[in-house]
Symmetry: C2
Subunit: 342 residues, 2 copies
């Protein structure tokens, strides 16, 4: 270059052609070396020369250019939840990403806050992922699945409470959580069971099946029992309002959606003079550490999620054989953990 | 096509050429219409024909191909934390993503769990983002910044406790949190201040400056006061071990890193018969809802984060003028919230 660029940010981005020129090899050789292609025999000195030239120029392969040439990418897209997922799911997501990386996939998360379901699917498709692994709270429609598949996604997998037509489904049946909570309360002789339904809109894909699970367990096991849905937001005022009218509801137990809502409601009940568990048993879900720190210690439902490795291996299997049967896996196991609040 | 593909997933991905052919227009026209280029005048009937053809074929523009042509992308990469960030940062991240989307950026998060700092920077560079917005707990080195800039990133912005050479820094000075906690305890007449340092490795970028902030406040305000760092993991056993030896430490106060660690330690102290706040004052940080639910109500440090819009506007400004001065913003304000535990 005869002209010195005024600003370093205006300097041209180095390309594989620059690397090839500096190393005195072909562009194809640069590509083989930097993408670790083992199918082609290239001597160690040549490999070193290419790597040194790339390092000197600051060249990094362009993932998208590579996938345009190869006709497919190694990108797995994880749509990001826009509701706080809590420590349980956060750990699970880390595990899934780790396991996919070990299988040589690039994992990116994509937030779709504020987009409609089909808009979001189109935005994901623009990135041309080879697989999409969607948590249930992101609305993925059958149309969205088709858009993604037409754009080259080999695997569209939903991981959540519901099936979506055309997608491989890993159904985590949230009804099991509600059923375990209700069965536990019925065993303890409770007969009038309140069920907290969070007022926060993003959570209804979880709270509705949990409520359905409570109803199912009560229908099965408690001829004389009843279920009362209770809307509550995750703030002190909402919990205090619910607790103030508690005795009028005639309930002797409450399944409070999860441990965090349970902590909030239990505190409000105690402040309103309602004895837990004497007058009212309280059960949460998720088996978080905080439940053991409360007094009385909080009873809960322990949820067993699949391992990250199981999920990653399924993604890889579907990517390799996209036309296998659409699988449906029931992945959720749940059991009550009895402590002092029930 | 004379041959019917055996499986739908083997069907070729529709291209803009296919759309152009079906709509009877040029590829350039397809590109103008689908990328909403307003600079070129195209009649409404033609626009409609292109959109209908795209819809019929299931064609979605390819973001990477478009950015290869344009020479730059609109992708902002947010490296993902591999430690649970807690509700405070989770809400903040949502806000940032929302605000960037409003400025027409595509935001993707990328987990770099298990990668070294320079490996991670190279992996990010492969995606050719126009901007990288890194939270502090991801180690970004000066070398990593250079790799990203050579690959076309206009803006590399760190958002965390420390500066990184070459990057724009939004310094959230965590020392302010420790200082606010310590100043509050000194005001209450406490003189021997324990400081919880989480044993979890990912958190030291936050815990070290918080400890330094405590030392600074004590050096300034308490000639006769002392500071004692206390390592504790986020589990019951670790908290119980610390509480069992508490009286031997001779402390009359503890700043417990954040509200979650404070909840854990306060419970362990109470279980060990240590009166809070009588024998020992406890202060957390982050001002989470849970602090108000504890008894005694937990004193805390309220942290004011910048708004998502402020962050997004800075990203956009640096992308447009990458060679402006490297800015350093001090973004963190913190003040103590006195409740019952101190």
């Amino acid at each position: 270059m005869s002209q010195t660029p005024k600003h370093s940010a205006d300097a041209p981005v180095p390309t594989s052609t620059d690397v090839a020129r500096l190393a005195g090899v072909s562009r194809a050789t640069v590509s083989y070396v930097l993408n670790n292609t083992s199918a082609v025999r290239i001597s160690e000195p040549t490999r070193r020369r290419v790597r040194e030239a790339a390092e000197e120029l600051g060249y990094v392969p362009h993932a998208a250019a590579r996938s345009l040439r190869a006709g497919h990418s190694r990108m797995v897209l994880l749509p990001t939840a826009h509701v706080p997922v809590g420590p349980l799911y956060s750990r699970f997501l880390n595990e899934v990403q780790w396991a996919l990386r070990a299988l040589d996939y690039t994992v990116v998360q994509y937030g779709s806050l504020g987009l409609g379901a089909d808009e979001a699917a189109r935005a994901w498709a623009e990135l041309r992922p080879v697989a999409v692994l969607s948590l249930g709270e992101i609305g993925l429609t059958p149309h969205g699945v088709r858009v993604l598949k037409r754009s080259g996604a080999k695997a569209v997998i939903t991981l959540g409470p519901q099936r979506v037509e055309g997608a491989h489904a890993l159904v985590m049946d949230q009804r099991a959580v509600g059923s375990a909570a209700a069965a536990h309360l019925l065993e303890r002789g409770r007969r009038a069971i309140g069920v907290v339904v969070p007022a926060e809109p993003g959570l209804d894909l979880f709270s509705r099946p949990r409520l359905a699970g409570v109803r199912k367990a009560v229908a099965r096991g408690g001829a004389d029992a009843r279920v009362e849905p209770l809307t509550m937001a995750y703030d002190e005022e909402s919990a205090a309002r619910l607790a103030a009218d508690w005795r009028g509801l005639g309930l002797d137990a409450v399944y409070a959606y999860n441990d965090e809502y349970a902590q909030l409601l239990m505190r409000a009940l105690q402040d309103a003079g309602v004895d837990v568990p004497g007058e009212c048993a309280v059960v949460g879900a998720d088996d978080l550490l905080l439940g053991k720190l409360l007094r009385p210690r909080l009873s809960t439902v322990h949820i067993e999620l699949p391992t990250g490795r199981e999920i990653a291996e399924l993604v890889d299997r579907v990517v390799r054989e996209p036309d296998g049967d659409v699988e449906r896996h029931d992945l959720m196991a749940a059991h009550a953990v009895a402590r002092e609040s029930s």
